[in-house]
Amino acid sequence: MTRRFTFDGQEITCASTDVVAAALTAAGHRAFRQTDTEAKRGIFCGMGVCQDCLVTVDGQPNQRACMTPVREGMKVETQVARPPLTPPAPRSLTPKRLTPEVLVIGGGAGGLSAAIAARDAGAEVVLLDERKVPGGQYFKQSADTQKAPLDPQQSEGRELQRRAREAGVTLLSQTEVWGAFDGPEIMATSPEAVYAIAPDRLIVATGAYERPAMIPGWTLPGVMTVGAAQTLWRSYRTLPGKRVALFGNGPLVAQVAQELTAGGAEIVVLAEAAPAPATRPFAALDMARRDTGLTRKGFTMLARLRRYGVRVTHDALPHAIHAQNSALMVEYSARGRPAQVEADAVLLNYGFQPSNEILRLLGCDMTYDARFDHLRVTRSSTCETTVPGVYAVGDCCGLGGAPAAMVEGHIAGRAATGASSRPDDDSALRRHRGFQDALWRLYSARLPLPEEAAPETHICRCEEVTKAQLDAALTDDPTDIGALKRATRIGMGRCQGRYCAPAVAGIMARRQGLPLEDLSYFAPRVPIKPVDIAAITAAEALLDDPE
C-alpha cells in the first residue's frame, strides 16, 4: 500500500505506514523547517522530543515530521519561523477521564513488562505509548506490522507486545503525555481523545533520549542521533542517507552501523570515543562472565561489520560538521590525528539522558550519577519512588539497559498490585546491572566537556544560543540555572531544555564548585512537551469533574 502527498508542491509517494520524516528522507529531502535566523533544520532525535523536524501540514504548523503519519493527499510544507495565526481546522477530541488501578507510561521494554506483570497479578492496566506501534527504542518495531521482523530483537519486541494485548492490557497508542500533576494525575492526547488519568498506582517507563555531541554544525539537516537513523531504518526501512558517518560511544553505535550496512548504506566512518576493547581485557572478561549471550551477540555484530569491510575507529571524536554542496563534511580526530570525511548523513550518540520529566514534576527525589552524567531517581527495592504509589522502571531512572528494564518492569508491575517480588527477579537484576557496569567500563571514554566547545557552537538548538553568548552571560555570574536561562534564553525553546540543560547544569556546577543535584537543572514545568492549544481546549471539559 502506498500513499501520495506533496512537499512544497512536489509529489511524494511512500509506504502507507510511513511518518512524514521517513517519506521525506526517502525522497531525498533533509531540510524540513527554517529557524528565526533562516537556518535549515531536519530530523534530529527521531523520537518526538527535539521538536526540530516541524512541518506545516494542511496549513496547520508545528507538526513533528517524525511523529506524524502520512495521509493520502496531505499537503506538507516547509515550516517558516513564524507561521501565520490562522485558526486551525476544528478538531474534535473527546475528553475522557480514566481511573485504572495501574497506569503505565511508555510501551518499551520496561513498560510492556510492567503492564504484563500487573495485569497477570489481576489489576486493571492502562498503558500509554506515543508510537502507533509500541516497543520503545530498544525493540523499535516496524511501522508496518505485516512486515517480518528484521532480527531476534524485533521479534522479541513483537512477542512482548502480543503478550501485553493477550493479557488484557488496555493499550493506548499514539497517546502522548503532556501533563503530570500531584495525585498523580496524568494528562495525555491521542489523535481522537484527550485524557485525564488518575490511577491508583503509576508506573513511569518513559525511557531515555540520546546525548549528541555539541560541536559546530550539529544542528545541520542530515546530522541526527544514531537512534533517529535506527528508527528510520528499523521502523520505516529508510536509510538516513547513502554515505553514513557514525560518531559515538557505546554498543548502539556499532549495532546501528551494522544494521544500516545490511540495509545498503555505505559506512564512511564508524568512530568510537573509547579505546579498543583489547586495551581493557578485564572489563571485557567481566562482561562476558556476566552475560555470555549478550557478549557473544556483540562480538558477532563486530565480526559481521568486518565482513562488510567496516572497521571501528577507536579513540575518535568529531570536532565540526560543515555543509558542503549537498553533503556534509566532518572534521574529526582519531588517536589525536586530524581527519575528515564526507557523508550524506552524520549520526551522533554520546550516551543517554533519562526522560525523567514526569518523575521530576511529581517531586520524586533524584540524585546525580557522575559516571553517566545524569540524574537517577531514588527507588526502593520494588522500584517505588519517594512519592508513594509512583514507580519507575528502565532507563528513565538512569541508564540501565533493556534487559534490566524488563526485570524492573516485572518487579514494579507485581509490587504495584500488592504481589510479592520473586527472588529470581532480584538475581536477574543483579546480573543485568553487573553486565551494564562491565559494559560501560569497557566503553568508558573521556568525552569533551561542554565548556570546551568552540565559540560558534549552538548550546541551545531551539533558541540558537551559541557558546560565545553563554560565556558572555556567565561573566555576570548568574546565581543559578534559572537566572542564566532568563539572561540568554537557553532552555526556553520547544525542546524545553532537553539538550542544553545537562550541558549548562554541568558548566554552572563546575564554575561554582557545587555538586550537581536535581535543582541544578531547569525547574520541571508543564507541559512536558509542547501541547496543542486545541488539546487544552478539549481538556477543559474535564474540569467540570472535581479536581
Binding site: R82, P83, L85, P87, G482, P527, P530, A534, I536, E547
Partner: protein, 372 residues
C-alpha cells in the same frame, strides 16, 4: 558601609539603585533570590483599572482608582527607562479590555468615564471599530475599551539590560535574606550578615510585610501567586495588551512572535525556600482555553511552558516614603501591577531618601496609613 542599602533586587529596587548611583551614591542591593517577582513577570504595562483587581478586591476599588495618575506617570517612567537602557522592546500600542455582552460593555463605559476623569486616554469601541483594529479577535467579542496609554515590553531584555547598567555604575549585589531592620540615624539590616547604611530602602514586595512590624507598621503583604503560559512563535499580529471585562485574562504577543497568556489564574505558593511557585491544572486548562476563545488564531500554536510568579497587591495603592517621620528606612512598594509601577515607585522613594525632588507627590502613598 554603604550610602544606600536596597532590600529587593526586582525592578523597583533596581530603578532606585540606578537613580541613586547616578546621583553619586554608593549602593548595595541585597536580594534573597527567590526571583518570583520581576524575574517571573510577563511585561504588561497596565494603566486602566484591571478587572482582575476589581473582581478580587472590590473593597479596594477606590484605592486603585485614586492611583490612576501614578499609573500614567509609571508608563512615562518606563519610556524614560527604555531610552536609558537602550531599548527593552517597549511598545505603546494600547490595551484592549474586551466585552462580550451589553452588560460588560456598560461596565466598561462606566469605568472608562471614571478613568477619563483621571486623565487616561480611553475610548469605547463598538464591534466594527474593534474588529477593524484587531481582526484576529473572535466574532463573539462585541466591543472593547481601548486605553491608549497601555503597552508592553520584554522583561527578559529589560532585566538583563538593567543589571548591566547597574554593574556599570558599580552597584553592589549581595545574596542574603534580610530578616530584621534596626531604625536609627544609621539603620542596620540583619540577615546572615549585618548591613549598616545611611539609608535603607525596602523594595521587597511580598517580603516587606515581615520587615514592617519592627518599624511599627501593621503592613501585610501576602503574595498572590499567578499562573502564566507562553506559546511558540507565530506571525506578529496581536499588537495590543488584551484583557477582558469580566473574565481573568491578559494576552499579548512579544515581538518574537510568542504569545503570553495570563491574567490572574491562581498558582500555588511555594513551600520551600528554593522552590518556585507551583502550577495548577485548572489554571493551565482554563486560562489557555479562554485565550483561544478570544483569539482563535493562536490555536495553531502550542503551549511551550507555564510558570508562576508573585504579584503583591497589598491594598491596591503604593506605599512610598519613610517608615515614620524622620526615619532613614524607606518603603517602595508598588501595590499591585508591580512591574508597571516599580520604576516610578522606586524613583519616588529613593528621591525622598536622597533628598531629591520626587517625580510625583508622595503624600497619598505615605506609609503612615499602616501605623498600628
Amino acid at each position: 558601609m554603604t550610602d544606600l542599602l536596597i532590600i529587593g533586587g526586582g525592578i523597583t529596587g533596581q530603578v532606585a539603585a540606578l537613580v541613586a548611583a547616578e546621583a553619586g551614591a554608593r549602593v548595595t542591593i541585597v536580594d534573597a533570590q527567590r526571583n518570583a517577582g520581576s524575574h517571573a513577570n510577563a511585561g504588561s504595562l497596565h494603566v486602566q483599572m484591571q478587572s482582575r483587581f476589581l473582581r478580587l478586591n472590590p473593597h479596594l476599588a477606590d484605592n486603585l482608582e485614586s492611583s490612576l495618575p501614578l499609573y500614567l506617570a509609571a508608563v512615562g517612567e518606563w519610556e524614560a527607562l527604555d531610552a536609558r537602557l537602550g531599548g527593552v522592546e517597549l511598545t505603546r500600542e494600547g490595551g484592549l479590555m474586551l466585552a462580550e455582552t451589553p452588560a460588560q460593555l456598560e461596565f466598561l463605559h462606566e469605568k472608562a468615564g471614571r478613568e477619563a476623569r483621571k486623565g487616561l486616554d480611553v475610548e469605547i469601541l463598538n464591534r466594527d471599530a474593534l474588529h477593524a483594529l484587531a481582526p484576529w479577535l473572535s466574532e463573539q467579542i462585541a466591543g472593547a475599551e481601548l486605553c491608549r496609554n497601555e503597552g508592553k515590553l520584554n522583561p527578559l531584555v529589560a532585566n538583563r539590560k538593567m543589571r548591566a547598567a547597574l554593574d556599570a555604575l558599580g552597584v553592589r549585589h549581595v545574596h542574603d535574606r534580610i530578616t530584621g531592620i534596626e531604625d536609627g540615624p544609621h539603620p542596620v539590616a540583619h540577615g546572615a550578615r549585618a548591613y549598616a547604611a545611611d539609608a535603607i530602602l525596602i523594595a521587597a514586595a511580598w517580603g516587606a510585610g515581615a520587615l514592617a512590624g519592627r518599624l511599627g507598621l501593621n503592613l501585610s503583604t501576602p503574595p498572590e501567586p499567578l499562573h502564566m503560559n507562553i506559546t511558540e512563535a507565530g506571525e506578529y499580529r496581536i499588537h495590543h495588551l488584551v484583557q477582558h471585562a469580566e473574565r481573568p485574562i491578559t494576552l499579548k504577543q512579544f515581538r518574537s512572535g510568542q504569545v503570553v497568556i495570563g491574567g490572574g489564574w491562581e498558582a500555588r505558593t511555594a513551600t520551600a525556600d528554593r522552590q518556585a511557585p507551583g502550577i495548577r491544572k485548572t489554571s493551565l486548562l482554563g486560562n489557555v482555553a479562554l485565550a483561544a476563545q478570544i483569539a482563535p488564531g493562536i490555536g495553531g500554536l502550542r503551549v511551550l511552558r507555564t510558570w508562576a510568579g508573585y504579584n503583591t497587591p497589598v491594598d491596591g495603592k503604593s506605599t512610598i516614603g519613610p517608615a515614620s517621620h524622620g526615619s532613614r528606612v524607606f518603603f517602595a512598594l508598588p501595590g499591585d501591577a508591580g512591574y508597571t509601577l516599580g520604576p516610578i515607585t522606586g524613583r519616588t522613594a529613593v528621591s525622598l531618601a536622597l533628598g531629591l525632588t520626587p517625580p510625583v507627590d508622595p503624600a497619598p502613598y505615605a506609609p503612615a496609613r499602616w501605623r498600628a
